[in-house]
Amino acid sequence: MKRIWTAALMMALMLQGTPARAEVVWDPLPPEAYALAKLYPDAQRLLFAFDYGHALVYERLLLNRGSIRDPEKFEKALLTDIVKILKNPPNVKIDEADIAPTYVFTFPLILSLFDWSHMLHQFVLDVLASSEDRGVAMNVRVNEIYRQYKANQPVVITDVCKTMLFMDGHYFSKAFRRSYPSFNLLIWSYHWFQIRLYEDLMKPTKLERDKAVADTIKSFWDLISNLPDSADFDMMPETAIEAPTFAKAFPALPSAFDNNHMLHDVVSDILTSDRVMGPAIRSEGIRFGRMAQDPNAFRAVNCPARK
């Protein structure tokens, strides 16, 4: 009898504060949720705009697949639309189903992986932005948020470090950056911005954090001021390199974030490459979503995040 009670108690402890179902629903929301929006509204609105931008580009690529005669013209039109959104970003997170229904239908697993992972990104930023304690208590909260994220295994992207060949080593790889180089660099600039925010919010004083976030926002606009030349990235920016303080404090998170970012590029390539036949897009989406979850697929031996 004692054993049964012990097992029940352990089960209750395990479930406490963790999502109980394999759904993309974070319930209850962390008390810090969306604190970033209150403290750094410009940064938060840019993040909302990035989500909008990603969904929009995926939808347009899907809807226009096979009929894009002039990729440069297509890219220019898309960039014009996206820059408008970036300059007048939304105040709330946009539901992808509203603006990108075809994408939502085509990539069911990957959409769930992104949604769940974006919540992790958001809530970690919220904790870092708002924590009064800048030491142990803040770290404990970030790790609690991460534990809750990981508890929902069916939609978790692995935090095991993958090589860049996960992004670049497939039959369809690099199609997006070759066809739409400016847009690809815009997306890498999004990723850079998001990563730098983590580093900025690790600063010990509010004054330093305010300055760092303001500088990063300015740098983001510089990066996209004259695409493609203004964004001097040869490769996707990596969390451990761009946010070393953050990476040292939370060693599991950089790879989880980088794997998410690489998966975004994989989706862009699947949608752009004519080597992926139309009917295969959905199944490839599921296959590569599973690969993002699989700790052994493209596992890196030398991981910058673990150094």
Binding site: R177, R178, S219, L223, S230, D234, M235, A300, N302
Partner: protein, 213 residues
């Protein structure tokens, strides 16, 4: 010959964001980053597009820095020699993180022996080979990661040469990358299939130059 020079250091002078540095960049890592830069230059149409498919060699030199802002690595990327004696070449000047500061392109005509890669292109095959030199898993093949002798090639990397593997009928079967390193007398051979996977039969081999067949 056309000599075409463009400086990316202008970007730093304009005060654009300085992207973070990793320091402790190995020669092999610098070479890999050089390949990524060549690909970017091709995509952005700043160098001849044929470098994507016809690149044959990459070599790395360490430079003497007079001041910290001077280049630290020089990467030279070449195509095969043309019948007219010309050879397309790009030199990259890089900082100690492997970030390209400037490049110089020397024009020429197509190589006399044109490579005809049918799966991955030349740059992508070289990139896979460099990941092997850096002792990474190639997809899930552990051959490079599990060979400690490769660390000498990563640290002392001096150059890599890509060549086709043909069968007795002359049919293209795969690719071989031969890697040399400072302080190592043997050559590292990396064999790949045309899709960029390692050859499962004999993915890597360390061969004495003196015992060449």
């Amino acid at each position: 010959m056309i000599r075409n020079t463009l400086c990316f250091s202008v970007i730093a002078l304009l005060g654009l964001p300085s992207l973070a540095s990793a320091h402790d960049t190995s020669r092999a890592k610098a070479a890999e980053l050089g390949l990524h830069r060549i690909e970017r230059l091709v995509i952005l149409r700043k160098i001849n597009a044929s470098f994507q498919t016809q690149t044959e060699t990459l070599s790395i030199q360490l430079l003497q820095q007079r001041q910290p802002t001077d280049p630290f690595f020089k990467a030279t990327i070449t195509q095969g020699k043309a019948a007219d004696g010309s050879q397309r070449t790009v030199d990259l000047m890089m900082d100690d993180d492997g970030k390209t500061l400037s490049f110089t392109e020397v024009g020429g005509t197509d190589p006399a022996r044109l490579p005809s890669w049918t799966g991955k292109d030349a740059l992508s095959l070289l990139e896979v080979a460099m990941h092997c030199v850096e002792r990474e898993l190639i997809e899930n093949n552990r051959a490079c990661a599990d060979t400690p002798a490769l660390s000498a090639y990563e640290k002392g990397f001096t150059g890599i040469v890509l060549s086709p593997i043909n069968n007795a009928d002359g049919k293209l079967m795969g690719a071989m990358a031969e890697v040399t390193a400072e302080g190592v007398t043997q050559t590292l051979r990396i064999r790949m299939m045309l899709d960029g996977m390692l050859d499962p039969q004999m993915p890597i081999e360390i061969k004495n130059t003196a015992s060449e067949e």
